[in-house]
């Protein structure tokens, strides 16, 4: 792991994957309550995507 700042003009792909792994580990360390809050937000997003998709499907079938 490097402490050098990320340079978007010049970087290796592996730096991105390392950063992802680092981020996952940071998120894993959050308190349980905070993780459940994130889950609840994700549930809301998932419901909204589902609602939008169903609404789009209805719109498309109305045109057939």
């Amino acid at each position: 792991m490097t402490d050098e700042p990320f340079n978007p003009d010049k970087f290796k792909a592996e730096e991105i994957f390392r950063a992802k792994e680092r981020r996952r580990k940071e998120l894993a360390k959050l308190p349980f309550e905070q993780k459940i809050e994130i889950v609840k937000k994700l549930q809301t997003v998932a419901k909204e995507i589902k609602r939008q998709r169903e609404s789009n499907d209805e719109g498309e079938s109305a045109h057939i």
């Binding site: 998120l27 894993a28 309550e33 889950v39 998932a46």
Partner: protein, 172 residues
């Protein structure tokens, strides 16, 4: 979610359930990063097998229905969560309940599978998403690999482990 946990504790105190522990997605989230899930798997032990080898959770469903939580198919919706009661019918599940960690959520204590038992149970279950979680748990700093090895050996999961280790290029 605290309401669900309070209700589980109340059910235990009133003898509706004896031992329980949370496994599945919510237990995984306890150890790893959060991801989207809306169900809470509550493993119940001991499993009472009735006539014809059938398991009955009728008393649990009736108890919750009286409190205003009707079933939705095999789930019960409590406080926006779909709670599923799962009989700890496999030996690894039974041990996972018996040796669950006490975890505090807000002001409420609950029981969650240990990381090692959770990984062993996910390995036993063996769906693709379960295997991915086993791999993530093994990579995490939460796991005692010796204990995990001991659990999978005692519960006859070594064959599954060898296939899993080969697929994920892990040391067997």
């Amino acid at each position: 979610m605290e309401k669900v946990l309070e209700l589980l504790n109340r059910m235990q105190a009133e003898g509706v359930i004896k031992n329980f522990a949370i496994g599945g997605g919510i237990a995984t989230i306890y150890y790893l990063e959060a991801y989207s899930t809306d169900d809470i798997d509550v493993f119940i032990s001991p499993v009472v097998v009735g006539e014809g080898g059938l398991i009955s959770f009728g008393h649990i469903y009736r108890y919750l229905e009286k409190l205003g939580y009707p079933p939705e198919r095999e789930y019960i919706r409590i406080d926006d969560w779909l709670v599923q009661f799962v009989p700890a019918s496999e030996s690894v599940q039974e041990e996972a309940v018996a040796s669950a960690r006490t975890v505090k959520f807000g002001g409420t204590n609950t029981f969650v599978f240990s990381a090692e038992h959770l990984a062993a149970e996910l390995l036993r279950s063996g769906r693709r998403k379960d295997n991915e979680r086993v791999a993530a748990l093994l990579e995490s700093e939460q796991m005692d690999r010796h204990l995990f090895r001991d659990i999978i050996t005692r519960h006859g999961l070594l064959d599954k482990w060898e296939k899993f280790a080969a697929r994920y290029e892990l040391e067997k």
